[in-house]
Symmetry: C2
Subunit: 407 residues, 2 copies
């Protein structure tokens, strides 16, 4: 691993205080899967009655863990559940050995925790194509189970990091008719980040009470507006996993818009933190497309801009190069009309109806580009479709990290 | 423009000797559109009876010049034709002013050369969104016309360069039943290069005799195997133009496979030279996908690998990171089966049927990655579909050029 010595300049000031989620307990350990002198495995145990919903990478070469989790989502929710995650090795593209590793880990967790193996969810993140030394993990499960603690979620956020420069956490509460419920989530991910989804592992816990099908529907809706709207480098991991567990311990019904809003805020916060830890990132960029024929076209355009190396290097160079935005809109494949296209950088109107805005002066655009957080808006002037996505710039730091790190 | 002081390490040893193509004459001039102290406009005049075929960017925001050329391809071929190209300003996203510039240039060329304006093809390359100072070009047309010379094609190759570090030319002959015919072509392009097509201008001339429809069909077929199979950075220009002119001066029928083979070799050679001048490139990479369900799927997979920033940075770092190739296959959207996937770097089999090859040793892969020209082959083990594409690595040089250069 390339030595990442400094924290991203876009990192939040501090890790948030995450509340206890009744019915969920956490533990971490040093299994030395690959990293030394740090924790690299985390276990979460969910009380009986918990439901688990999820979203996963659509990669055709997804890992054994992802395939196993997908098969288990939606099964019986009476027996409790476990989530076990290791960093350092992704167990992806490891053939039949990958399936064996997942099975061995699930069986050991099931045996120690006294829950069915069908309720054990695993994730692995790190190098692709090397056999996961799962014995090192199974050897730690009894220790992990003995150390479970409802306050240890912040340790879990650290154990799942790979090239991340900071741990990622987010929280929200929702005041519902039945009382207050709490949500706490953690995430890892900083490279190979693109929709469907990112190299990203995300675990969110709540004490709200929901049926699995209702929670799953909510997670699917929100995922399309959060984790599937971020991109660092357009590359999609083979391991992306989002799990949302509702323990129901509060007894409060969460199948309500106010809960969905709170869950949305946690998912968006974590998604933004993943972009803020984009490899080599120095700018956080929000790209909004309006006036498309429909929302899907708007998202296609927005992601085309967000993934364009020429746009991203211009941002790195603080160059208000709106011509490259035009280029990226033009290549996206979705309909656009050169002569109704308008672009704003921040509040500055740089192009209107297909040409540079008559009032635009280069120094206005340059001032926006010097900011650490940049808003770009493209109006297509064709319809009512809108989308917002988030990305970062493409810098020498990205090259340095990825020309050396064996991921 | 960032100062590009050194020639790409992947450049051919020298510019080829291009033969005279009877019926085609060339001239260049210093119009000072943007660059000083160098030629920046070239004029080619084609004798009456010449036919012109073409292929163009599919960008929705393509330039006024491209729209104008597309409207003219296939029109009457009795009156001769002209091609006029400037560098320094792309006349793209310049609203109605862009159309006016094209019209002014076409009318002046038509007037001076005595051909209809409908037979004048224009291209512009350089900065987007700034009004083309076309008066500087029209002021030079009489001078250009007076200097026309059938041996001046190599000067034309230089006049159309922007960030190119070397001029690009290629030639071939074909011995046909009616006699020998000659082909000579020039190209520019080194950034914003991706299929459909690249920021790329290509002009190819032959003295073979073909009907316009036959030449157009041939160019469309060959374009899909050459210029639409290269990518530097996945970004697509608003100005990409390929024009192929057949003067017919040899009197030899060229609508034959042997001529198509020769034209293919010229187009492939120029396409490779564009990749070899990729911004910041230090490696020339050929990616072949076999065993896909069909050729289109194979191309989708090959371009996904070729465009992946993580694959390209691994190549820059000489890291035989085949896991990133798996990732890129997985994200492409085309069908793949993890457990029938095999990968070779050069002649070294690195992965077989979904996992690292039992005989593979890391130093074998590392030795291949140290080469300047790298072949990667991915076999999907599913069907008979194949495709080959070409790309380069992603280096600090790309970031340096594009974080500063205002294109």
């Amino acid at each position: 691993m390339a030595k990442i010595t400094s924290v991203s300049p876009l990192a939040p000031e501090r890790f948030p205080d995450l509340p206890v989620i009744q019915g969920a307990r956490f533990a971490t350990a040093q299994a030395s899967v690959k990293y030394k002198d740090r924790t690299d495995v985390m276990l979460a145990i969910l009380d009986p009655g918990s439901v688990v919903a999820g979203a996963f990478t659509r990669s055709a070469t997804r890992s054994a863990n992802v395939l196993d989790c997908q098969a288990k989502i939606g099964l019986s929710d009476e027996a409790g559940a476990a989530i076990i995650v290791n960093s350092g090795n992704s167990n992806a593209f490891t053939g039949r050995a990958g399936d064996e590793s997942v099975k061995a880990i699930c069986e050991e967790v099931a045996s120690v925790a006294g829950i069915p193996a069908t309720r054990v969810f695993t994730s692995s993140t790190g190098v692709i194509g090397e056999r996961l030394p799962h014995d090192r993990i199974t050897a730690k499960i009894a220790e992990l189970h003995g150390a479970l603690d409802e306050t240890a979620i912040s340790n879990a956020a650290r154990a799942i990091m790979t090239t991340d420069t900071f741990p990622k956490g987010a929280t929200a509460t929702a005041d519902l008719p039945g009382g207050q419920v709490r949500i706490a989530g953690i995430a890892k991910g900083s490279g190979m980040i693109a929709p469907d989804m990112a190299t990203m592992l995300v675990y969110i816990f709540t004490d709200a009470k929901l049926a699995q099908a209702d929670l799953q529907a909510m997670v699917t809706r929100l995922n399309d507006k959060t984790f599937n709207c971020i991109t660092v480098d357009s590359d999609t991991s083979t391991s992306d996993t989002l799990l949302v567990a509702a323990t129901g311990a509060s007894g409060v019904d969460g199948n309500l818009p106010a809960f969905e809003d709170a869950l949305h805020s946690v998912m968006k916060d974590l998604a933004h933190q993943v972009v803020r830890d984009g490899e080599g990132a120095t700018k956080f960029v929000q790209i909004t497309v309006t006036g498309a024929l429909n929302d899907q076209d708007a998202k296609t355009h927005a992601l085309s801009v967000a993934n364009s190396p020429l746009v991203k290097t211009a941002i790195a160079g603080e160059d208000p190069n709106w011509g490259r935005v035009v280029m990226a809109i033009g290549k996206s494949g979705a309909p656009a009309d050169r002569d109704t296209l308008s672009i704003r950088f921040g509040d500055v109107r740089v192009a209107t109806n297909g040409w540079v805005d008559p009032g635009y002066r280069e120094e206005q655009g340059a001032a926006v580009m010097k900011q650490q957080e940049i808003d770009m808006t493209v109006d297509l002037g064709m319809g009512q479709g809108t989308a917002t996505v988030w990305t970062c710039d493409l810098t020498h730091g990205y090259i340095t990290i990825n020309a050396d790190y064996r991921s």
